[in-house]
Symmetry: C2
Subunit: 106 residues, 2 copies
DNA sequence: AATTTGTGAAACCGAAAAGTTGCATATATA
DNA sequence: TATATATGCAACTTTTCGGTTTCACAAATT
């Protein structure tokens, strides 16, 4: 099935996992301790995150450390860029209105 | 039902709708013309987008114009902020490595 | 060698999502 | 006033999602 980064971050548990491993690489068991679900459920979330390249696995013996692929997060930033342009534009327009008002005051 | 902006943008059709009305306010019928689904399906997407305050309705006679609430998009930007810090930090660290290498060259 | 531990995967389940069809309502238009 | 148009909403269906349970397997530990 086709995995998409926007679909991946839609789930609150997955966003929490991302926040966790952003600080340090963690094993599925260690991650699962932070939630009220089973390890298997977390494992499934990790699979989804892995499938869309948001996290990476690092094998160390029988343990698997999951790390955040911060580069992938930039995709969201890139998507947001078009809208950032809009709100910055509106801000500039407001700025212009304010400075015009200021001039009139003088 | 609880609506969440991350869940709202998870659907590709909804992201396309957002992109459309970011340019100009549009009626459901006009929006639906851009997709291969029924008007009712688009209407449902618009309801979801409205429920999480991503879009706003402007009544004009029997037509309803949907506009993007650009302010709401900032919430995603705000969430992304913590990760932006990380990738900018990494960039700075790389920068430091490079300048150290440069010094050593001298 | 036997047992424990860390992990993924498959089968199953209930809830939610996304879509369609059909209907109701309000506003234009003839 | 009768008709056409724009829209939302409810009922229903199919698909997807998030979770649990059960199992398999490999690596550590005893």
């Amino acid at each position: 099935m086709r995995r998409d980064i926007f679909q991946a971050i839609a789930d609150p548990t997955r966003r929490a996992i991302i926040a966790l491993i952003a600080l340090q690489a963690m094993t599925p068991n260690a991650i699962a301790e932070n939630f009220h679900t089973t390890r298997q459920a977390i494992s499934k979330h990790l699979r989804i995150l892995t499938e869309c390249d948001l996290v990476k696995q690092e094998y160390q013996g029988r343990e698997i450390y999951y790390t955040l692929e911060i580069e992938k997060m930039k995709e969201i930033d890139k998507w947001l860029e078009q809208y950032r342009k809009i709100w910055e534009n509106r801000f500039n327009q407001l700025d212009q209105v304010l400075s015009t008002l200021k001039k009139q005051k003088k």
